[in-house]
Symmetry: C2
Subunit: 649 residues, 2 copies
C-alpha cells in the first residue's frame, strides 16, 4: 500500500496499456509525460526510469513538473534491442521541510529550533545515503543546523547545493512506481529511413528469353546505387514448385519453359542442397554461395538486400512430404489447397498455424529467418502477414530479434486498417500502406496527417511504394512520364521510407485491361527490358534520393506539415529538422499547368515574418528569392511536376 503513496497516472506514450512496444531508432529521444500528484501539501519528486529488457538495474533522469500536475522527462535510447520504461515518484522529504521552514520564517514565527532540528535529522539521514565528499557536506550542514539561529538556519535551508545533493540521494520510502511498464522497440536507422528498389533477379539481365542469375545482378545493383537506393528487395528466390505451376499472365496451364510464380515456393524434387524449401535458392538463379556473394557485393556498395518471406508452400515443398501434419486436410486425408471460394489456388497449400504440432511449425519458420539472417540478410518483406495469426508474428519477430536485434520486417498487408495497425504493434518495423491509391489533395492530406501523427508514428511506419509487381495503380496508367514523376516526388518526400518496383523508373504502364495489374507480369514470366530506355526518370529519382540523403528533414515522419496552396491541384508541405527546412510543392495533375500562391508560417520555423530568403530547387538546382510567408509557384508538368525547395537563409 505504501507503494502507491503518490498518484501516477496517464503515462504517455503507452501503447495499448503497455501490451505493445512503441518504436524508436537508436539515438532517438523518448519523451514521457505523466500526471503526478500527492495528497496534502508535500513536495513531490519524480524520475523517469528505463532499462534494457531483461536488465535489473534502471537508469533514470529527473522529471519536471508543469501545469495541471503534468510532469515530463526525456531520455535517449542508445542501443538496438528492447527497452522498458516507467515513472517513479515520491514524497520529497527535504524539499517539503525546506518549503515549510521558509514559510514559517518568512511568516515571522519566532521559535524555529524544533524545525531546525527536524531539518538536521533529514540531512543526517541523507548523509547516510550519500557517498564521499557529499556525505560530509550533508553531515556538516546537519551539525550546523542543529545549533543555528533562525537566520542562519534559513540560510542553510536556502542552499541549493544541499538541495542538489539531497535530490541525488533521495529518500523514496513513501512513493510509487507506475505499472504497467512502457515498452520500446529500438531499431537501426534503416527501419525508418530508406529507399527501396525491388527487382526480380531472374529478369535482372533484361534478356527475356531465358532467366538471369544472381551473377547477372551486378548491373542492377550498380544502377540501384546510382539512383541512390538503400535497399534492394527480391521477391522469393526459392525453388518454385512444378505441380499446378501457373503460366504467363497467371494462366492455369503452364507451358514448357515458363518459370513459374516465385510465390509458389518449394520443390524438393530439384535435389537442392538444403531440401528445396524456404532455406534454398532456386537452382535457375544459382547457388546459395552465389547469393551470399551477391549479398557481399551489395554490402560493398552500401546496399542492403531484403528478402521476401512468403509463407506459401507449393505441393512440391519438402514440408508437404515431411510434415503433412502442418497442413489442413480434407476428410479423405489429402492436403487442402488454398481457396477463396469460388476461387481455387491449387499451386499453393496453406499452413495450419494452429495444428496440434503448431510449436514445431512455428519454430521451423523462425529458424528459416535465422538461417537467412546468418547469411547476412537482415531485412525481410513479409508477404500477406494478415493471413497468418498476429500472435505468430509477434512471437517470431521477438524470437528472431533476440538473436539479431538489427532485423527489420516490412509488413505487406493491404487489408483492413486495424489489421494493418496491429501487425505494426506486433513488431513489424514498416508497413505497406494505402498511399498507392491516394492521389487527390484532400485524401493525401488526410492520410498523411494520420500517418505522421505521433500516436500513429509511435509504432506504425509507412513505407510508400509507388507500385508493386501486384499493383500498377490506375494513376500510373495515364499517358506520359508525369504521373510517375508526381508519385516519385510524393513518395520520396512525404515519407522517410519509400520504394519502387523496377520498371517504374522506365515509366512502364502496360496493364491488363481495366485492372490495376501489369500485362505480362514478370511474376509469371521472364521480362526483357532496356534499363536505360529513353524517357526514363532515373535522373529525377537520383536527385530525390540525393535530397533525402543530404537533408535530415526528409529522414523523419512526424515533422510533416501541410500548408496552404490556393489551388486544389497543388499540394504544398514543409518538413523541418533543426535548421534544415524543406518546402515541397507538387502539381497533382499530370496533364495541366497549375499555379498557386503558397503560404507557410515561416515564423514557426525560426524565421522573421517578413524575411527575404532563397529557395533552392533540389531537383533542378535553380534558386529563387522568396519574401515573407506568401509566394508563388507555377508547375507545368511537361517541364517539371514539383519543386523540392531547400530554404537557404
Amino acid at each position: 500500500m505504501k507503494k502507491t503513496a503518490v498518484v501516477i497516472e496517464n503515462v504517455r506514450p503507452l501503447l495499448d496499456c503497455g501490451r505493445y512496444a512503441i518504436k524508436r531508432l537508436v539515438g532517438d529521444p523518448v519523451h514521457v509525460t505523466a500526471d503526478i500528484f500527492k495528497d496534502g501539501h508535500d513536495a513531490v519528486a519524480a524520475a523517469l526510469k528505463w532499462r534494457k529488457a531483461g536488465a535489473k538495474k534502471w537508469r533514470e533522469t529527473p522529471m519536471n513538473s508543469g501545469d495541471d500536475d503534468v510532469w515530463s522527462g526525456s531520455f535517449a535510447v542508445t542501443e538496438i534491442g528492447d527497452c522498458e520504461y516507467t515513472v517513479e515518484a515520491w514524497l520529497d522529504v527535504y524539499e517539503t521541510w525546506r518549503d515549510e521552514f521558509r514559510r514559517k520564517h518568512e511568516g515571522g514565527q519566532e521559535d524555529l529550533r524544533s524545525e531546525a532540528k527536524e531539518g538536521a535529522r533529514i540531512l543526517e539521514r541523507g548523509a547516510k545515503r550519500a557517498a564521499g565528499k557529499k556525505r560530509a557536506v550533508l553531515r556538516d550542514a546537519a551539525a550546523e543546523l542543529v545549533k543555528a539561529d533562525n537566520a542562519r538556519a534559513a540560510a542553510l535551508a536556502a542552499r541549493m547545493d544541499l538541495s542538489a545533493i539531497m535530490a541525488e540521494y533521495p529518500d523514496r520510502s513513501i512513493g510509487s512506481e507506475f505499472r504497467p511498464y512502457g515498452r520500446i522497440m529500438v531499431e537501426r536507422k534503416a527501419a525508418l529511413f530508406a529507399a527501396w528498389y525491388e527487382f526480380f533477379p531472374r529478369s535482372a539481365g533484361g534478356r527475356g528469353d531465358r532467366g538471369s542469375t544472381f551473377r547477372d545482378c551486378l548491373g542492377r545493383l550498380d544502377d540501384a546505387k546510382a539512383m541512390g537506393f538503400d535497399v534492394v528487395y527480391f521477391p522469393p528466390i526459392h525453388p518454385i514448385g512444378m505441380t499446378k505451376r501457373k503460366g504467363r499472365n497467371n494462366a492455369l496451364e503452364c507451358r514448357p519453359g515458363d518459370p513459374g510464380v516465385p510465390y509458389a515456393i518449394g520443390n524438393r524434387h530439384q535435389n537442392c542442397p538444403h531440401g528445396g524449401g524456404h532455406r534454398d535458392v532456386a537452382p535457375e538463379l544459382g547457388t546459395l554461395e552465389d547469393f551470399e556473394w551477391l549479398v557481399g557485393e551489395a554490402k560493398k556498395r552500401g546496399l542492403e538486400i531484403a528478402l521476401d518471406f512468403a509463407l506459401n508452400c507449393s505441393p512440391d515443398h519438402p514440408y508437404v512430404a515431411d510434415h503433412p501434419e502442418w497442413f489442413f486436410h480434407r476428410p479423405d486425408g489429402t492436403i487442402k489447397y488454398a481457396e477463396n471460394p469460388p476461387k481455387k489456388y491449387e499451386d499453393v497449400y496453406p499452413l495450419d498455424y494452429h495444428n496440434p504440432s503448431w510449436q514445431e511449425l512455428w519454430n521451423e519458420l523462425r529458424d528459416v529467418i535465422l538461417w537467412w539472417a546468418a547469411r547476412g540478410v537482415r531485412t525481410f518483406r513479409v508477404d500477406n502477414p494478415h493471413t497468418k495469426p498476429v500472435a505468430f508474428w509477434e512471437w517470431l519477430i521477438a524470437e528472431t530479434r533476440a538473436k539479431f536485434p538489427d532485423l527489420v520486417f516490412l509488413s505487406e498487408a493491404f487489408t483492413k486498417p486495424k489489421m494493418m495497425r496491429v501487425l505494426a504493434k506486433a513488431g513489424f518495423s514498416q508497413s505497406y500502406t494505402y498511399f498507392t491509391w491516394r492521389n487527390a489533395k484532400q485524401e493525401l492530406t488526410d492520410y498523411l496527417s494520420e500517418m505522421s501523427a505521433p500516436w500513429s508514428a509511435d509504432y506504425f511506419r509507412p513505407n510508400f511504394f509507388t507500385n508493386t509487381p501486384d499493383i500498377l495503380p490506375f494513376f500510373l496508367q495515364q499517358d506520359g512520364r508525369a504521373p510517375f514523376m508526381i508519385r516519385a516526388v510524393l513518395a520520396a518526400t512525404l515519407s522517410p521510407l519509400y520504394g519502387i518496383y523496377s520498371g517504374f523508373e522506365l515509366c512502364e504502364n502496360a496493364a491488363l485491361p481495366g485492372r490495376e495489374e501489369y500485362l505480362d507480369s514478370e511474376k509469371y514470366q521472364f521480362k526483357k527490358r532496356d534499363w536505360n530506355a529513353p524517357g526514363n526518370i532515373k535522373g529525377l529519382i537520383g536527385r530525390l534520393n540525393k535530397a533525402r540523403r543530404e537533408n535530415p528533414a526528409l529522414q523523419h515522419l512526424t515533422n510533416l506539415r501541410f500548408h496552404t496552396a490556393e489551388n486544389d491541384n497543388i499540394l504544398f508541405y514543409a518538413k523541418a529538422t533543426g535548421d534544415n527546412v524543406i518546402l515541397v510543392a507538387v502539381n497533382l495533375d499530370p496533364h495541366h499547368t497549375h499555379a498557386a500562391a503558397v503560404e507557410w508560417p515561416l515564423w514557426e520555423y525560426g524565421m522573421g515574418w517578413d524575411a527575404d530568403y532563397t529557395v533552392e530547387d533540389l531537383l533542378s538546382g535553380e534558386r529563387w528569392t522568396w519574401h515573407g510567408s506568401k509566394n508563388y509557384v507555377a508547375l507545368d508538368p511537361s517541364v517539371r511536376v514539383a519543386h523540392v525547395f531547400a530554404v537557404r537563409r
Copy 2:
C-alpha cells in the same frame, strides 16, 4: 499462444487500463465495445462475459459486429457489489464452413462431397458439446450431410436452427480472451440520484442560547421530508476537544459555553462510553442510543442519515494517548499539530498514514466506518479526502464495501481537478464539485458538458451543493431570494445529485466581509433560526424535489443536452429519458428580466419537427402550447427565475 489467435483490442469502457472500476447502478446496462478481428477470411464469434468479483463462472452474451471491426454487446448489472467483465472471441468453425460451402455451391463447384463430409465432422463435434435434444438434432444433421447431394447439403448448411445450436455450443479452441479485465462498482440508486439536506443537530431546535440534541431533530427531519429531500447529512457528531478549542467566528480564544468546532474530534476526558473518539457521540447531543433512535425515525420517513467522516483528531482524542505512534512528532517527542505555514491549527493533530504502524491505523479507521455502518449509517461524506493518501481511500472503501456493499461515500475534495478525479476512481461514489462557483452561461455549459460526458460520468458523479458551512458563494451574497432560487433550480435539474446546507432555504446570506464564508457560522457557535421565516424558498425546493422524483429524466446525468437560447443570460437545456422530456430555461441574472427565443431539436426527441405540444411548468403548474422547435420565454426574477417544463405530447 493459441489463446491470442483472434485480435481483441480497444475494449471500452476500461478505466485506466482496468486499474479502476467504472460505476453503475443496479439495473443499469453496461454497453461494451471492442475491436475484434482475425487473420484470413475465417468467421469470428465473440461473447461479452461478466461475473461478480471473486466468482469463478462467467455469464455471457453474444457480441454483434459493426463497421470497421467494432463489436458491441450489453448486459445489465443486477446486484450491488463489484463485477468484472471481458471479451472472448474465437474462430467460428461452423460459420466458416457454412460460408465457404455456400460460396462454392453458388460458384457452381460440382463435387462438394468432401466439403459435406467436413461439415458433418464439425456438426458431430458440436453434438458432443451439446446436450439433450439439441445433441440429437446435430447428430441427425451430420448423418444426413455425409450422404447428401449438393442441393441437400446446401439446404442443410442454410438451416438457421443448426447455426443457432452450434452458436450455443461453440468450439472456442482457437480464440482469445481480452486482458486486463474491466471492473464495475455496482451501487444502489441513491449513489447517483438523491437530494441532500445538511444541518447541525446542535442548531436543529433553533434556540441559539444552548444546543439542541438528537431528540430535538424530529422537526428538521419532518421539514426535510416535506421539502422532498432524501438524505439528511450531519457534520461530525463526535465529542469535541477542549484543548485549543476555537471560539465564535473561528476565534483562537474560546469563551465558556462556546460549543467548539465539530471537526476537532475527540475528547477522552468526557467519559464517553466508547472512548470519546470517532465511535462516540458528543454527550451534549445525547447518547448513541439517541442517535440510533434518530436514524430509525429518519428511516420511517424514507430519509437516510449521512455522517461526516472527518479524520481530524483534537489533542484530546483517545488515539493521542493510546497510539501516539500514529501521529507526526517533533524532535522533542511532542506531537505535531496541523499547519499550513504560516497558519497553525493547534486544535487538530493530523494522522501519519505512513507511520510504521500504518496498517493498525488503517484498520482502526476502517473499523470506525464499520461501527457506524452496523448502526444503520450507510452514507458518509468524507472531509478533505485529498489530504490523506488516495491508496488509503481505495483500500478503505473496498474493505468496507466488502461487508456493506450499499455504502456510499461522498468526497469533499475542493482541490485540483486530477486529485478530485482520482478520488472518484479510487471508489468515492460522489464528489463535491466546482459547480458552486459556476454562474455564467458559458462556464455552466462547459463544466456540465464535461461532467455529463460518458467518459467522466462513468466514474465521477457530481453532487452539486449550492452552499456548505464553509462556502457562502459571492453569487448568493447578492440581495434577495432570486440568487438562491436560481442556484436551487440549476443544482436540482442539472445534476441528479444535489444538496443544500440549511439556511439556504431561508436565503441566509450574511457573510464575513469580502469572504465567501458565513458570518457567525454555526461551525463555531449555536445558531438560532426561524425555520419558517418569511421569504423562504421551501416551496420552490419542494416543487423541485417533487419534479425530480416524478421525472426519470431528472434522475440521470449523461442525458443532459444544452440547446440554444438567444440570450446570454438564459440557460436552456433538456433532459430526456424514454418518453419523459424535461426542458429547463433559467434566467441566470437575478436582477433583470430576460427573454429569449429558445430552440430545441424536438425531432431528436421522437417528435415531429412541426409538432404542437404542451409544456407544463412543474414549478408553477402553468401550461403553454408550443409549436415546433423555436419558442419564446420571458423570465422576470421577481416573479420566477426559471421554467422547468415537462413536455406533454
